[in-house]
């Protein structure tokens, strides 16, 4: 019965609205894949999260198609899918990590004289939520408010997570540059 209903909907599905979705999908998939890949750390998880997010967007497309940034809607689902709120359950959500430096002490993404590969590896070792903040801020160029909306937290939390992430990056990148094991 599901297959029949699916077929019936599919037949009726080629409309300007669905064509618009297809265009949105093709235009945004590559960039969001890279973001998802950076947050997830592997291509398979990134692709899975994107499939879920775009399916949700398709299901609600008539409602969200006219908003300013449908991409933001998809990005939010992708990131939250990856950082585990849905798969691992709320009890396994990442707890805030102790920051090796006081919040606010790292105000800039300048990480000092370290190897680029080491910085990338350090990004990959960040806890998922911190990694998401870093990717959204420095790859997607989102504001603190936009990141807060994507992660479902306050701008203050974004700020403290970013601060902790940058401190962690500095420390880990330096360790990796010095040849210490990951």
């Amino acid at each position: 019965m599901d297959a029949l209903a699916d077929r019936a909907e599919q037949d009726a599905a080629t409309t300007p609205v669905t064509e618009e979705f297809d265009e949105f999908f093709r235009a945004t998939w590559p960039r969001l894949f890279r973001t998802a890949y950076a947050v997830a750390g592997d291509a398979a998880s990134a692709e899975d999260a994107l499939q879920v997010a775009y399916a949700r967007a398709y299901a609600s497309w008539r409602r969200i198609r006219s908003v300013d940034h449908p991409e933001a809607y998809v990005r939010r689902i992708v990131v939250n899918e990856i950082i585990g709120t849905r798969r691992r359950g709320w009890w396994q959500r990442e707890r805030p990590h102790a920051s090796p430096e006081p919040p606010g002490s790292v105000a800039s993404p300048e990480l000092g004289v370290v190897d680029r590969a080491a910085v990338w590896e350090a990004v990959r070792t960040l806890p998922p939520r911190q990694r998401a903040v870093i990717v959204l801020r420095y790859y997607e160029d989102l504001s603190e408010q936009e990141i807060a909306a994507a992660l479902g937290c306050s701008a203050g939390t974004v700020k403290s997570q970013a601060s902790a992430a940058l401190a962690n990056l500095r420390r880990r990148a330096a360790e990796l540059s010095n040849g210490e094991p990951a």
Partner: protein
């Protein structure tokens, strides 16, 4: 060399070749999800039944009144603490403190609207009210069963609900007082009309041309915003919208707040609920932080917040959280055999 984080990320990520996205798979999953949202309870079988009934009516069987089969009373419920209407799609529905197998309430879906007086839903294209007694009332006995059934919306300031109906071939939006069971006003609309919100007797109606407000007291209809603006919610004079700011905002009798299309306002319009246990203020006040972190949230009919989070060992746990205290009480477990938890009347 000073390493710039932004450069590192772009160097690494811009070089990643994205695999070709599976658009067919996405569309298939999206269609399944959309069907599941429509038919929270009964799955494809119920969809088929509705389609068959509709087809018989349109085929000129001589009786185009949809049957009331399946709308038998389900026994009394308790709405004093809100409807607490949530479901494991296709498996179980929780409503008014009771738990029903999905087949018992197979007419409820996310297009239904939870009100303090019960759930307004469509059966055979006609609006009905599942009351606290467990009985189903036909709100528009003269209505025709058509495919015009925009999601009903509830007024947080009074006992009003807005729904769609077709009479003598004309699509109408009707506002009914559920306390007195009287129609407050009717308004002819085009069949592509969507009811986006109802607040203080003002209905926000949207078509492809844009959003208008219909004042049910004066009957006046005014343009509100263009087609790119979406009204997400309206409560207590506060309009939560996405997209471009409505034209001439200073002249509008509403307090405008920009937010996500799938966000909700608390009943007093003071805070925004958006996928988080932290509700941001609309007026510069203090945020409300709920005691529990969950994944899914909805505003209940008594103004409290329902929160569903996945539970250790499987399934989900649903909490009812008071505002503004944020204090949460566990309502109980919810199976997740049918997928993510769903709230009746929340379609995102």
């Amino acid at each position: 060399m000073t390493t710039d984080l932004r450069d590192v990320l772009h160097d690494r990520l811009d070089a990643v070749v994205a695999p070709v996205g599976d658009l067919d798979g996405v569309r298939a999953s999206g269609r399944r999800l959309r069907r599941r949202r429509r038919i929270v309870a009964g799955g494809g079988v119920v969809l088929a039944s509705v389609l068959v009934i509709g087809a018989l009516g349109y085929a000129g069987s001589g009786d185009d009144r949809p049957t009331d089969r399946g709308l038998e009373p389900v026994g009394p419920m308790d709405f004093d603490q809100g409807l607490r209407a949530y479901a494991d799609p296709g498996h179980e529905i929780h409503l008014g403190g009771r738990t029903f197998p999905s087949t018992r309430l197979d007419y409820l879906d996310t297009d239904a609207a939870a009100t303090p007086y019960g759930v307004v839903f469509y059966a055979g294209g006609r609006p009905r009210l599942l009351q606290e007694t467990g009985k189903v009332a036909d709100l528009e006995p003269d209505a025709e069963g058509t495919d015009f059934h925009p999601t009903a919306k509830v007024d947080a300031q009074g006992p009003l609900v807005a729904y769609g109906v077709t009479i003598d071939g004309q699509a109408e939006v009707v506002v009914r007082d559920l306390d007195s069971d009287e129609v407050v006003a009717r308004h002819d609309v085009s069949r592509d009309t969507v009811i986006d919100a109802l607040d203080g007797g003002t209905v926000f109606l949207r078509t492809d041309a844009g959003t208008t407000t219909w004042d049910t007291v004066t009957g006046q209809v005014d343009p509100f915003a263009g087609p790119k603006t979406r009204v997400a919610d309206v409560r207590n004079g506060v309009v939560l919208y996405d997209g471009p700011e409505p034209a001439d905002p200073d002249t509008l009798p509403f307090f405008l707040v920009k937010g996500a299309i799938d966000a909700q306002l608390t009943y007093d319009g003071s805070h925004v609920l958006s996928w988080s246990n932290r509700l941001e203020p609309t007026d510069g006040g203090r945020p409300i932080v709920l005691d529990v972190k969950a994944t899914f949230y909805a505003v209940d009919t008594d103004g409290s917040i329902l929160a569903a989070g996945f539970a250790r060992g499987g399934g989900a746990v649903v909490h009812d959280c008071e505002v503004p205290s944020g204090e949460c009480t566990e309502l109980g477990p919810l199976t997740t055999k049918g997928g993510d938890p769903m709230f009746i009347g929340v379609d995102m």
